[in-house]
Every structure is written in structure tokens, then in C-alpha cells.
């Protein structure tokens, strides 16, 4: 490992490089949530910090799992999550409405969230098992596509376009990293361009179609769906270089900004902390994603490489789509900003991804030492 400093082994092994930036980001997120709650720790900021603490412990525990065990668990985990997704659908059908979670009594489990790391795990495991020579074969393409298509379809039925796209993105990135020939991606890209309009007209719910239209021209419906994008841009734009000050953001304090604590938490932050706050958030995400890619590059086995690369891509997908959305570069899809938005599912998924990355980092250290 690079930059080895003489520290006691447990301390040296502790993943400081990710825990420190993440803690800073989550603390910053808690400040923003404090402000979004009108200057109060409850109900957002306190639970945000508690969840981070809980899931950090979960991640650190996960980091101790051995590689063989994880690889072995890939298929059962995938099947269990798939069954849970079907159960959600069944409960939804019986309950006479769409539902995204299972009520477990002590918590609401959203299986689609678990599928985001789950899909990366199963596809990484598949390519690990696939003989190297077969990478250009149809099997190397069709089996992962099937593995991706099943959960995507189930999640689309909920309907939850954002999560469905996140699952697809994670799976496809792993396929790309696994070395599936370029021609499939080029072909797939062309097919997507052709299928997009068809999907738009037949695949999307009317409210989702409206969101796409509004994204193309927010001014067309300033009081309706365009309202989110317009108010978000006003919040970010009025923040300026250094922001209006902690607790002084009029857009979020006076309820002009919709969802100031979840999907539009970045706009809430930008209004009060300005461009400087925004660059800090981008920097932390940059550090975390770079850390993830370095782990992937340093990984010794094909499974570990693909796993780390896929997890990094999943986190990246959240960050990129959310930020593009709040800045008016993408349609409004319900995707929260990792480590800042208030919400247990998003924190759980992202901390699982971080936990997996810590785990791979540990495997790397074990093999190198």
C-alpha cells in the first residue's frame, strides 16, 4: 500500500481515507437538514446522524467478510431479493395499490434498494465464474442481461423508474468493466436511441412523461411540475458564491423549495452555503469515488475488481443523477443525494456500497501483505 505510516495495525487498517471525508459530508448534511427542519435537530438531522452511525458499524462488520463467503452468497442473495421484490408486488396487488416496501414490523424494507448492490454482486460473481475465453460469447451477454432485466422489470411495475435505472446502470457498468466487446455497447447505444421514444410513449406513466416534457421546458408549467426545477435553480442561483448563511435560505425556510430535505437537499445546501459549499460536496464525492476506483484497480481477483467497480458506479449514479436533476440538467426522478438526503433506504444502500468497498480494500491488503 502507498503512503504507509507507522501506526498500530488496527488503526492503520481502519479505512480512514473514506470514513473521514464521509463523516464530514454526513455532518454537513446534518447541518443542512437542521436548517431544512426550520432550525431544529428533529426530525431530520438527528435521525440522519444515528442512521449513519448504525450503518457505519454495519459497513465495518461487512468489511470483515472473506471473499469466498461473499462469492458464495451472491446467488442466494440475488434470489432472496428477487423473491422479496415479487412479494412486494404481490402485497401491492392484494392491497389494491402500488407499494414499494415490505412492512417487517421493526422497519420498512425496500427490496429494490437492496437490489442495487445485489445486481453488482451477482454479475461480478457471474463473470468470475465464466471461463475467460467465453467473454465474447452470447452467453456472456445474455445471462447478465437476463439477470438485470428481471429486477428492473419488477421495480418498473412498482412503478419506480429511478431505482430501476440505477439497477440497470450498476449491472451494465459491471458488464462493461468485465470486458464484454465494445460492439455490444455501441449496438446497445443505438438500440437505446431508437427505443427511447417508444419507451417514452408506451413505457412511462403520464406523470413521468410530464416530467420529461417539463425538463425540456420548465417554463411551460411553472406552477405544476416545472415548479420543482425552477425553485431549485432559484435556490442554487440565489446562493451565489458564499451563500445566504446558515439558516438564512428563504427558498427552503419559506417552503418555496419542494422536498428541501430529500431530493432537493443539495439546493437547500447551495442556497445557504453557496458555490463554496457545492464544491466541498463535489470534492468529497470525488474523493470517495476515486478511492473506490483505486480499490477496484488494485484488486487482485476479477470478482473483487468488478465488485468494487460496480459499487463505485452505483454511488456515482446516485450523485450524478441527483445533482443533474437539481441543476436542471436531467428530468425530475426521485433519486436522493447519498449521505446528505434524509432517508433510511438511501443511507442503507450507499453504506452497503461503501462497506463492500472497505471489504475489497481489506482483501487487497491481505493479499499484498
Amino acid at each position: 500500500m502507498r503512503g504507509q505510516i507507522a501506526l498500530p495495525a488496527p488503526l492503520a487498517e481502519f479505512p480512514w481515507r473514506v470514513v473521514i471525508p464521509l463523516t464530514l459530508l454526513v455532518a454537513f448534511g446534518a447541518m443542512v437538514l437542521h436548517s431544512a427542519a426550520g432550525g431544529s435537530m428533529s426530525p431530520y438531522a438527528d435521525s440522519h446522524l444515528i442512521r449513519f452511525a448504525v450503518f457505519l458499524v454495519v459497513a465495518l462488520v461487512m468489511a470483515r467478510f472473506p471473499e469466498d463467503f461473499v462469492r458464495l452468497m451472491a446467488i442466494p442473495a440475488y434470489i432472496i431479493i428477487l423473491v422479496l421484490l415479487m412479494a412486494v408486488e404481490a402485497v401491492g396487488q392484494l392491497g389494491g395499490g402500488s407499494q414499494r416496501w415490505l412492512e417487517l414490523g421493526f422497519m420498512r424494507l425496500q427490496p429494490s434498494e437492496l437490489m442495487k448492490p445485489g445486481i453488482v454482486l451477482i454479475i461480478a460473481a457471474f463473470y468470475h465464474m465464466l471461463p475467460v475465453g467465453m467473454i465474447s460469447s452470447w452467453r456472456a451477454l445474455l445471462v447478465p442481461l437476463g439477470l438485470i432485466a428481471m429486477p428492473m422489470g419488477l421495480v418498473l411495475l412498482q412503478p419506480d423508474l429511478g431505482t430501476s435505472l440505477a439497477i440497470g446502470f450498476g449491472g451494465v457498468v459491471v458488464m462493461f468493466l468485465a470486458g464484454v466487446p465494445d460492439k455490444w455497447f455501441i449496438g446497445g447505444g443505438i438500440a437505446a436511441v431508437i427505443l427511447a421514444p417508444i419507451a417514452y410513449f408506451f413505457g412511462l406513466q403520464p406523470y413521468q412523461q410530464q416530467r420529461v416534457l417539463t425538463f425540456l421546458d420548465p417554463a411551460s408549467d411553472p406552477q405544476g411540475t416545472g415548479y420543482h426545477i425552477i425553485q431549485s435553480k432559484i435556490a442554487i442561483g440565489s446562493g451565489g458564491l458564499s451563500g445566504k448563511g446558515f439558516g438564512e435560505g428563504s427558498q427552503s425556510q419559506l417552503d418555496y423549495l419542494p422536498e428541501p430535505h430529500t431530493d432537493f437537499v443539495f439546493a437547500t445546501m447551495a442556497e445557504e452555503w453557496g458555490l463554496i459549499g457545492g464544491l466541498f460536496v463535489l470534492l468529497v464525492f470525488g474523493i470517495v469515488l476515486r478511492w473506490g476506483l483505486i480499490i477496484a484497480r488494485d484488486a487482485q481477483t476479477r470478482f473483487a475488481r468488478l465488485l468494487a467497480g460496480g459499487m463505485t458506479a452505483t454511488i456515482f449514479f446516485y450523485v450524478a443523477v441527483n445533482l443533474m436533476m437539481v441543476m436542471g440538467l436531467a428530468p425530475v426522478v426521485g433519486i436522493p443525494l447519498p449521505f446528505m438526503s434524509h432517508g433510511g433506504s438511501s443511507m442503507m444502500t450507499n453504506m452497503i456500497c461503501v462497506g463492500v468497498l472497505m471489504m475489497v480494500e481489506r482483501w487487497n491488503r491481505q493479499t499484498s501483505s
Partner: protein, 673 residues
């Protein structure tokens, strides 16, 4: 080896592709940073302004309306601080539920709820509809605490227009109300949509709207997205509108209106020297205080169903045959055309004109000009009008103000008719006949005049000058031009008119109960239907004769002149007691009031009290089954249109000969004392 090589090549592919992904991620990161920089720095100003316009809500404060003052500076219309509730229909989610809740909180009756619902549905949507004003604090507070569940409802402290003398000034001043859709379209200012803003709908309030309006204040407040006010940022006080001072004498106006009592009629009194109108009372009337919130269906039903047309300003828009009140003026015309006052005729209960005999109301024997005036002998006027020619007499009538419109700040005035041969030819295509002269010579036939015109005529007779009425007080004295009558001509008529009251005339009971002032006047009875239908004194109200009286005082040095018209009063006897009491009040208020209080006791309260009772009774009888009131503009137009139709004269030329009735000893003589 093969496998290892391939595995290595896959590792290379992975490295290459993870580099691509890393680059894409970095690229998107840079893109996001650039985008954010662009929004937050380059477009900062624009978005800061938009955030500001989100946060800050500018609301106008309706200006306090300028007062309307009488000639002595006492308010005829002022403002009263009150608690009020308005509603903006566009922001209301469920109109029916809102009306129900408000009705419950404010204790509305069913017709009131129906009115509110209508007004909310018919409004321009974005403009405010008045729900109630003049609320006590408890009701105001009760609405205020329910605001979260009543979107669009705005309780506020404000001012409402207050007319201390209520119905007495209704026609003169008009009333104020919420701007209508038409008024907003004509003049789309945000002020017109401000809750609590009222503009003048009629009378002086409408004519002097711009002067009375004032400049609105403004309040900048910080609001949440749902419209809740977080705090005040800045407030600019409103500037009250300018006052308008009228020539009206407030107490006299109120006295005259109240003195009309149960009758339907009008009183006009003016200052002969300055032309100032001291009083323009028209009854029955409406209470402008209760019109401010829009006219309710009960109120409208009551006003519409009243055959005495309480919505018409009778001083300007009531037209009546002037009857004998034109006789002094005709006498002056005869004098100027060379008839000596001492020239006499013999009235044998009438007189032959051409080949026909025309009746007089009595047998007066030998009649000179003075006797013709104070005894109101018809024969005298038949004879000399025929001798002089009525086209010449008509020209004098116009010089004395009949058939004329005056330069006054009023919405409309009717100018009536002074008939002459040319007019008849144009209107009916028929030649002027001797009986037309006979009818017109005693103020009947096609002759029509308004009470204002009669008052002006009386002032011009009294002074011999071209007195013009004025409603707005001004300091400049305008000496009026002479009408070219000699002093002896003028004093001859003054004396004759004094004799009507103080001598052997037809209105002995009009004598002022004062030591040193003598009233001069002339009675008139205007026939509504011919003798065949009614004797003019009893029977159905609408068939009774109009009673008229024109007057001035003191008779030898006239200072005040005026006219009283009592619609269907049964003859002049209904009119001159009113004139007497009004003049008594003007000269000795206490004496006048004593007379009024005695009468009001008989009638059952002041005009305001009687109107309130009438309203209660009508509301109780009618219940909810009333059509909603039309908007005020239409209402005024309807009233005008009906009035015009009623006074446009018969379709066919009238060929009947007028049969005069008793001038003296009229019906109400006994009742009014």
C-alpha cells in the same frame, strides 16, 4: 499460458475501461461544478431577484377616501375604522364549504349566504369580494383563527365609508362599492383588485372618484409559499384622498329629507345670490351605508318593488308637469311682451279662446296680473298666452331654466320639455293648436320640468338674474347676468307671489311662523290622469295629482329660493307645508325641528328608522326566494331607462283639453298640520 494471457488481457481491458469510467465520472463532476458556478455566479443576480420576488409580497393598502363635506365643513361622508372580511374567489378551493363556514361564523341568514355565493361566482376571480364589514371584534377573531382551513379568505382591519345621515344623502352622494369586472377591464390597476378597496358608484362619489380616491399605501411582507405572512418588512402609509366640499347645508339636507316623511318627493333649496344648492333631498331613498358591501337581494327586492322608485334621484331625474308654478314666470313673459299688469280680463269660470270655452278651476271675476298669480286664475293665462303667442312664452321659459341642463357634477339630469309649435311639429308632425296653448299656459300638456329646474326658475324670478346652480363650494363670487327685467316688473311679481302666501292667495298656510320674514311662493297641482279616472285627491296613489310649490324668501330681498314636489300628493297642499317647514328650519332651526319632531312621532320614527323596519319586514316576508341583485351599474341604468321611458311623453299627440282642478284647500292641508 493461454488462460493467463487472456486473463491478463481482461485485466488490461478492465484497467482501460475503468479509466474511461473514471474519466466520465471526473468529466461529469467538472460539468456539475461548472454548471453550478454558472447558475450561482453568472446568473446569480437573476436568481437572487427571483428568490426575492418569491419571498417578498407587496400588498397595497387601500387609501382612505377623502371626505365629502357640507358648506360648513361637517362631513356628509367620512370613514369609519372597522373590522372586515373579504374573500378572493380564485384562491377558494370549495366555494360552497367556504360560504357555509363563513355564514356560520358570521351568523348569516339564508339570503345573505345566497348573495355571497352569487357574488363569489360572478366576480372577476382574482378580485376581492366583500363578505362583511363593520364586524365586532369577536366575529372578526372567530374568522381569523379559522384562516388555515379557509384559503382565500382575508380578514383585515380597514376603513368603511360612513354616511352619518344615511338615506338623506343617498341620491345626492351616491355610494361606494367593490369595483366590478367592467370597471377593472376599463382601468386595470392593481389597486382595483385590492381587498377592501371601494370606488364611487353613483352621485358625487362617482363624479369625484379621482379626487376622493387618494394614494394607496403599500406593505412589504415576507410570505411562505402557501401565503402565510411571516413578518412585516416595510410599510408605506396611504395618503388620504382630498376632501370635496359641497354647497349643501348638511342639516338642511337631512331636515328636508326627513320632512318629506312618508311622501315620495323632493326638495331643492338654493342660495339666490351665489347659486349654491343648499339642499337636494329626494325621498324615499336607500341607505348608502348598507350598499357598500354590494346590494343584497332583499334590499334590491325591496327597492325594486317599491312603486315610489327609491333608486331614482327625483331632484334631477323626476319630471313633472309644472302646473301653475309656471304662472309667475309666464306673467313676467307677458309683461316683457307688452302686457300691462293692470290690464284685466273677466274670468267667468273659464274663458272662450277661439271658438271653444276652456274651464278655469274657479270663477274669479275681474282678474289683473297680480290676482291671476295669487288666485292662480287659469283664464288669465289662457287669454294672454293666446294673445302673446306660446312660441314667445316658451322662449322665456327656457331663459328661466326650464328645459335646460345645468353645469353640475352629476351623473345625469333630465331636462324635460318646454313645448312650442316647432317642438310639436318635430315630435308628432302635427300643427300647434289653440288647446295646446291653453294647456301649456298653465303648465300642463306636454310641459315637463324637474324640481331642480323649478328651483332655478324660482331663483331667477326672485332676482331677475340668470342664477346658475352650483354644487361644489367655491370662494369666487360670480355675479350673475341680468335677465333684462326692470326692477318694477320684478317687484310686482315678488309682491304677487308674497300675496299667494301672505295675502289673499292659494297658500295661506305656507306663511312662515316667523316675525320678520315673508315667504313668497306659487302653488301648483299637476294632473296625472284626467278627471274621468280620478278626482286627483283620493283613490289609487299613482292616480293622484302631484303637488308642487316654488318659493323664495324674504320676498322683498330674496336670499333663498327653492321648489318642493310631492309625487301624487293629491295637490299643492301636500307641497307647501314642506316648503314652509324647510324654510323655517333654515331661518330658525329650533322652530323647524319642533315641527318635524311632532310629525315624526305620527309617522313612526326618522327616515332611517322607518327604512330599517321596512327592510326587516320585507326580509321576513320574502325569505330566500328572491332573484339576485344585478350589478350596481346595470341597476342605475335600468332606473334611468324606466324613468326616460316614463317621461318621453305620449306616443300620440294629445288632443284632450286639460280640466283644471282646485288649487286651494287641498287634501293634505288638514293632515299636515
Amino acid at each position: 499460458m493461454d488462460r493467463k494471457l487472456t486473463s491478463n488481457s481482461l485485466k488490461q481491458t478492465f484497467d482501460r475501461r475503468s479509466f474511461v469510467i473514471g474519466s466520465v465520472q471526473g468529466g461529469i463532476g467538472v460539468l456539475l461544478a461548472a454548471r453550478m458556478g454558472y447558475i450561482a455566479v453568472a446568473e446569480n443576480e437573476k436568481y437572487e431577484m427571483e428568490a426575492e420576488s418569491n419571498r417578498v409580497n407587496l400588498s397595497l393598502i387601500p387609501p382612505r377616501r377623502g371626505w365629502i363635506l357640507d358648506r360648513n365643513g361637517s362631513p356628509l361622508a367620512s370613514n369609519r375604522a372597522d373590522f372586515r372580511v373579504d374573500v378572493i374567489p380564485e384562491r377558494v378551493v370549495d366555494i360552497d364549504a367556504t360560504v357555509e363556514t363563513l355564514g356560520e361564523l358570521l351568523e348569516f341568514s339564508e339570503p345573505e349566504k345566497a348573495d355571497l355565493r352569487d357574488r363569489m361566482q360572478d366576480s372577476a376571480g382574482f378580485s376581492a369580494v366583500a363578505v362583511a364589514n363593520g364586524l365586532d371584534y369577536e366575529k372578526f377573531a372567530a374568522v381569523s383563527v379559522r384562516i388555515p382551513e379557509l384559503p382565500g379568505v382575508i380578514p383585515q382591519r380597514g376603513y368603511s365609508r360612513f354616511y352619518p345621515t344615511g338615506p338623506s344623502v343617498g341620491h345626492l352622494l351616491g355610494y361606494v362599492g367593490t369595483p366590478s369586472r367592467e370597471e377593472y377591464d376599463e382601468n386595470p390597476q392593481p389597486l382595483l383588485l385590492t381587498p377592501g378597496f371601494k370606488l364611487g358608484k353613483d352621485g358625487i362619489e362617482k363624479e369625484f372618484e379621482q379626487k376622493l380616491r387618494g394614494v394607496p399605501g403599500a406593505r412589504r411582507v415576507e410570505v411562505t409559499a402557501s401565503g402565510r405572512i411571516v413578518r412585516d418588512l416595510e410599510t408605506r402609509e396611504d395618503t388620504q384622498g382630498d376632501a370635496v366640499q359641497l354647497t349643501i347645508d348638511g342639516p338642511l339636507q337631512d331636515y328636508a329629507a326627513r320632512r318629506l316623511g312618508l311622501e315620495s318627493g323632493s326638495v331643492v333649496v338654493m342660495d339666490c345670490l351665489s347659486g349654491d344648492l343648499l339642499c337636494m333631498a329626494s325621498m324615499p331613498s336607500f341607505d348608502p351605508n348598507s350598499f357598500s358591501d354590494g346590494i343584497g337581494r332583499v334590499e334590491f327586492g325591496m327597492l325594486r318593488d317599491n312603486e315610489r322608485v327609491p333608486l331614482r334621484n327625483k331632484t334631477l331625474k323626476g319630471l313633472y308637469p309644472p302646473g301653475s308654478t309656471v304662472k309667475p314666470m309666464h306673467s313676467m313673459a307677458f309683461m316683457h311682451e307688452g302686457v300691462s299688469p293692470s290690464e284685466t280680463i273677466v274670468c267667468g269660470g273659464g274663458r272662450r279662446i277661439g271658438n271653444r270655452f276652456f274651464n278655469c278651476w274657479s270663477n274669479h271675476g275681474v282678474v289683473d296680473m297680480a290676482k291671476a298669480v295669487y288666485q292662480s286664475c287659469d283664464s288669465y293665462y289662457y287669454h294672454f298666452a293666446q294673445q302673446v303667442g306660446f312660441d314667445k312664452v316658451a322662449a322665456y321659459a327656457r331663459r328661466f331654466g326650464l328645459g335646460q341642463e345645468f353645469d353640475l357634477p352629476v351623473a345625469s339630469q333630465f331636462y324635460g320639455t318646454v313645448p312650442d309649435p316647432q317642438w310639436k311639429l318635430e315630435k308628432y308632425g302635427q300643427e300647434w293648436q289653440p288647446y295646446d296653448t291653453v294647456n301649456a299656459s298653465i303648465g300642463q300638456g306636454y310641459y315637463l320640468a324637474s324640481p331642480l329646474q323649478l328651483a332655478v326658475m324660482s331663483a331667477r324670478i326672485a332676482t331677475g338674474r340668470n342664477v346658475a346652480p352650483a354644487l361644489i363650494k367655491s370662494e369666487q363670487k360670480r355675479p350673475f347676468a341680468s335677465l333684462d327685467f326692470r326692477d318694477d316688473e320684478i317687484s310686482y311679481i315678488r309682491q304677487a307671489m308674497s300675496d299667494v302666501v301672505n295675502g289673499p292667495g292659494t297658500a295661506g298656510r305656507a306663511r312662515l311662523p316667523l316675525e320678520n320674514v315673508l315667504l313668497a311662493g306659487k302653488t301648483g297641482t299637476a294632473q296625472v290622469v284626467s278627471l274621468r279616472y280620478s278626482d286627483g285627491k283620493s283613490g289609487p296613489w299613482q292616480f293622484r295629482d302631484h303637488g308642487l310649490f316654488v318659493f323664495f324668501a324674504p320676498f322683498d330681498n330674496p336670499r333663498y329660493a327653492g321648489a318642493v314636489v310631492i309625487e301624487h300628493g293629491g295637490g299643492s297642499g301636500a307641497a307647501y307645508p314642506v316648503a314652509r317647514d324647510v324654510m323655517t328650519f333654515l331661518l330658525d332651526p329650533q322652530k323647524g325641528l319642533d315641527a318635524l319632531h311632532a310629525l315624526e312621532e305620527q309617522w313612526g320614527g326618522t327616515a332611517q328608522e322607518r327604512l330599517d323596519r321596512q327592510y326587516q319586514a320585507y326580509a321576513a316576508a320574502a325569505g330566500v326566494d328572491l332573484p339576485p341583485a344585478p350589478p350596481p351599474v346595470t341597476l342605475a341604468e335600468q332606473v334611468d331607462a324606466e324613468a326616460r321611458a316614463a317621461y318621453s311623453g305620449p306616443e300620440e299627440a294629445d288632443s284632450t283639453v286639460f280640466s283644471p282642478r282646485d288649487e286651494a284647500n287641498p287634501r293634505s292641508e288638514g293632515a299636515s298640520t
